[in-house]
């Protein structure tokens, strides 16, 4: 069996605050395989970005990993020292942030930022790094790369900038890329292009991608598998087609009902009543139970359900069966 | 702790006439033979003892410091008061009347702001000195100082008040009143003043510290309190001359006092600013 590029096992991240200890990531487990895109979807505050930050070692104090494992190509990385981690970042794990304008240093040219990254991780001369930088820009579809290598970030449009960011994340040839809301700050028309670019590059290079987003449409478009997060916990995990058409977790089901899908025609969008609980005020039992249409006694008391392994599973005592719920179109 | 220091210094200044063992300004009590006596050592001629020594003219250093502090504090408070009144009035006028008056006042403010306020104060002092006949110069020096420092500092107050006035003017009740034909100044003031009170107080505390330091500096430079009615700055200036020749106390004690005053006023100001800052509550 192919070894996963990233393997997270029962990861727990805690933030000590004055009001108590919060768990933005609670017992999360999933794998990402080379060449596959795993979408992480959920509302703001569900813990998706936090997981990504934990993987790349960029958790901001006082958040920290308290238990669980993070394995990169089989090697544990959650316990590395700061300097060891620095060598991995960029070289083995790349990261893309949401806002391409603020991700790039406005006072350095695009070329300079590329070259410094390349030189840091690959043992090449400056000239060669320059060539590689130009090649990287061409790969992400920037026209006239050789001339534009000396341009400043503000001289590019939003979509172009995100391409530059992707080029930067990929230029040291990592095995895993964490894309944190890469299209949220872009125009809808540009979003599709960026997603297509990301897909192509990752399949070609066999890179695993953790695609974090709150936009179901992006997931449907780009991901192979999807993980749904709720209140810091994993609610559902499975192949995109399965999860989107036959969601097992009532929350995912609710999400589908509130997402406009072409197949639905003119149905009214359903909204899940209430809102996701804040980390400091989690209910007992299953975190979704207060809003769940199908909640039973055991859901509200007792322990919280977790996903046991990474096959298509839902963290629910009573996962939904779908023969009757499938759309009749 | 700084609070304590400031309070005791201020108390000392206010009660100077009672606390000071000697009156340093009354020429009758001065005996030149007492000059240059060290601290707590009896004078070789008159056998008088002075706690902190005497200066070149036989004045008791302790008393002079106490009275000097009085002058420093008086000038400081008065100057800030002047700046505040001036700034508030100009700000109100600028904001309320607007138009060319506003533009003029703001232009003047901008021009004045191009220059450091100490320079402006020096200039004003020089001009005032020029128009005053020589005999009166010493007497009016204190008032000129207050004028100079106050005039150099009004801009911040004006800006804040002008801003608040402009905001207030936009409000409906003002526009309504103007439609009827009355501009309701008194009511406006009632609304404006509570708004500006906080920032004005903050600016005032900063200005106070700066004003006291400005006074000390100007006096030290010789364009402030004269040697006949010296403030701490003047004393330090006098003391500097004798730094090398051994009469260290003429410089030392006033300098320490000024240091303590400056530091504690600044700390107090910081503390006050934090306390008044609505964002930190």
């Amino acid at each position: 069996m192919v070894q996963p590029v990233l393997s997270i096992k029962s990861l727990v991240v805690e933030i000590p605050t004055r009001k108590g200890v919060l768990r933005p990531v609670d017992q999360v487990s999933y794998d990402i395989f080379p060449g596959e895109i795993l979408g992480i979807v959920g509302e703001s505050g569900a813990g998706k970005s936090m997981t990504g930050n934990a993987v790349i070692g960029l958790l901001e104090r006082p958040a920290r990993i308290v238990s669980g494992d993070v394995l990169l190509s089989g090697n544990p990385i959650h316990n590395l020292s700061a300097s060891e981690f620095r060598k991995i970042r960029g070289k083995k794990i790349g990261m893309i942030f949401q806002d391409p304008l603020t991700s790039l240093n406005p006072l350095l040219t695009v070329g300079e930022q590329l070259v410094e990254t390349i030189i840091e991780h690959l043992a090449v001369s400056k000239k060669e790094a320059q060539e590689r930088a130009i090649a990287a820009l061409e790969e992400v579809g920037i026209p006239a790369a050789r001339e534009r290598i000396g341009s400043y970030p503000h001289e590019f449009s939003g979509g172009m900038r995100q391409r530059v960011v992707i080029a930067l994340a990929l230029c040291a040839e990592p095995d895993l890329v964490i894309a944190d809301e890469p299209t949220t700050a872009l125009d809808v028309s540009v979003q599709a292009q960026i997603i297509a670019l990301l897909k192509r590059l990752c399949r070609e290079r066999g890179v695993g991608v953790m695609l974090v987003t709150h936009d179901m449409g992006v997931i449907a478009e780009a991901a192979d598998r999807v993980a749904v997060m709720y209140a810091g916990r994993l609610a559902e995990l499975g192949a995109v087609r399965d999860v989107l058409t036959a969601p097992k977790h009532p929350y995912t089901y609710g999400l589908m009902g509130s997402t406009p899908l072409a197949s639905r025609g003119l149905e009214r969008l359903k909204q899940i009543p209430g809102s996701m609980p804040r980390l400091g005020a989690l209910p007992e039992g299953c975190a979704f139970s207060p809003r769940c249409d199908f909640a039973q006694e055991v859901c509200k008391t007792g322990s919280s359900p977790f996903i046991a392994d990474e096959d298509a599973q839902a963290a629910c005592w009573f996962p939904l069966q779908h023969t009757k719920l499938r759309s009749s179109k | 702790m700084s609070f304590f220091v400031v309070v005791s210094l201020i108390m000392g200044a206010i009660f100077a006439p009672l606390l000071a063992p000697y009156d340093p300004f009354d020429p009758a009590t001065l005996n030149l033979m007492n000059g240059f006596t060290g601290p707590l050592t009896p004078n070789q001629f008159t056998q008088d003892v002075f706690v902190l020594g005497t200066d070149d003219q036989g004045r008791d250093v302790l008393s002079t410091i106490l009275f000097g502090m009085r002058i420093s504090l008086f000038v400081g408070f008065s100057a800030v008061f002047l700046a505040m009144i001036l700034g508030v009035i100009l700000g109100l006028l600028a904001g309320y009347i607007g138009g060319w008056l506003d533009a003029t006042i703001m232009r003047v403010a901008d021009v004045q702001l191009t220059f450091p306020s100490i320079l402006v104060a020096m200039l004003i002092f020089g001009i005032a000195k020029g128009v005053t006949p020589a005999e009166f110069r010493d007497q009016v020096a204190i008032w000129v100082l207050i004028l100079a420092i106050g005039l150099s500092d009004w801009v911040q107050f004006a800006r804040v008040v002008r801003g608040a006035t402009l905001v207030e003017r936009q409000k409906e009740y003002v526009q309504a009143a103007q439609l009827i034909g009355r501009a309701n100044l008194a009511v406006m003031l009632k609304h404006i003043l509570p708004n500006v009170l906080n920032p004005v107080l903050v600016i005032a505390t900063i200005s106070l510290a700066l004003a006291i330091i400005a006074e000390a500096t100007l006096s030290f430079l010789g364009v402030g309190a004269p040697p006949t009615k010296p403030s701490l700055g003047t004393l330090i200036r006098i003391g500097q001359e004798y730094m090398f020749s051994g009469e260290w106390w003429i410089l030392f004690f006033p300098a320490i006092t000024l240091l303590a005053l400056a530091l504690s006023i600044n700390l107090l100001g910081d503390w006050l600013r934090d306390a008044l800052n609505p964002r930190l509550r």
Partner: protein, 327 residues
């Protein structure tokens, strides 16, 4: 860009005219120049003659214009105190102040940026806390006290450095410099530190604040995510972005260095234009006062202008997206 520069130049001219007016008003209303220049035994005829010579019988505006004309040529008449042309006196003393200002500005900048970066990178610890506290003290102390304190420690007690004057200076055809002699350099040290300390503290706090702000930016996070070393991040990315606003504000501070030079020169009896000015104020030597005023106005206004333009040039974003409006 050109429009912006022109507008700023126009504003500067207005300020200069206003200052010129104040300077001229000083001449007209403060004391009687004729009175000041002639001795005790003067006849009415002498007074009349001098009045005519000085053009004092002309209308106000004409006098004002002539004043401006002459000022633009550097002619401010004769000093009341010394009887020599003001421009000559100022030219003599200018090098002293300039050298002092340059050295102290340099010290302030290097020290300020260095300490600022240090306390921004190392936010916690004994040394940074100590430096921050010391800076608080540095800001609250009056400059002259610092000067006197330094004199006390280094001249009186230790005897290492001189407490007044410039030391030996070398005349380079009009410009006298203290850089070329050991005693000249030694004499520069204490005054330069005194003058520069306040500036250094300001710059340090500014750099620290700016840098802390910059270090929180997304591009710094992204640089970390790319595995760049802390050293690269701090000095290549953060510092560059920090310096842009710092340079602007520092430039504006140059003006106050000139003003504070007056105090420092007095403490150390440094024969520069600052000491000249204060003596002029004490003596009510109007021509010198007016000349000094005009001179530093030109300097301040000029510095503000240059800094504005420089800022424009440094930040590439502004070159393209220049929007309408003043500062």
């Amino acid at each position: 860009m050109l429009a912006y520069i022109l507008r700023r130049i126009f504003q500067s001219l207005i300020v200069l005219l206003a200052v010129g007016f104040v300077a001229f008003a000083m001449f007209s209303f403060v004391g009687d120049p004729v009175d000041n220049m002639l001795g005790q035994e003067r006849t009415q005829a002498d007074i009349e003659r001098l009045r005519e010579q000085l053009g004092l019988d002309q209308p106000f505006i004409v006098q004002y214009w002539r004043f401006l004309e002459q000022a633009a040529q550097g002619n401010f008449g004769l000093s009341y105190r010394q009887g020599r042309p003001v421009s000559e006196i100022i030219a003599e003393r200018l090098p002293a102040t300039v050298e002092l200002a340059l050295v102290s500005g340099f010290l302030a900048f290097i020290g300020g940026v260095g300490l600022g970066v240090f306390t921004a990178i190392r936010r916690h610890g004994v040394l940074p806390s100590f430096i921050m506290t010391a800076s608080l003290v540095g800001v609250s102390l009056p400059t002259f006290l610092i000067g006197i304190l330094l004199i006390y420690i280094f001249s009186v007690e230790l005897g290492w450095l001189p407490s007044f004057g410039r030391g030996e200076i070398v005349d380079l055809g009009g410009w006298t410099t203290g850089f070329l002699t050991a005693s000249g350099l030694k004499a520069l040290i204490l005054p330069a530190i005194t003058l520069g300390l306040y500036q250094m503290t300001l710059i340090m706090r500014l750099v620290r604040t700016e840098m802390l702000e910059v270090l929180r930016m997304d591009y710094i996070r992204f640089a970390r995510a790319r595995g760049l070393t802390e050293k690269t991040i701090n000095f290549r990315h953060a510092l560059k972005n920090t310096l842009v606003p710092v340079i602007t504000i520092t430039g504006l501070q140059l003006g106050s260095i000139i003003a504070f030079a007056i105090i420092t020169e007095t403490v150390f009896q440094w024969p520069g234009v600052g000491l000249l000015f204060i003596n002029a104020v004490q003596f009510v030597d109007i021509p010198v006062m007016a000349a000094y005023l005009m001179m530093i106005s030109v300097m301040f206004v000029g510095i503000n202008l240059i800094v504005d333009v420089l800022y424009f040039a440094i930040d590439p974003r502004l070159r393209i997206e220049r929007s309408v409006g003043g500062h």
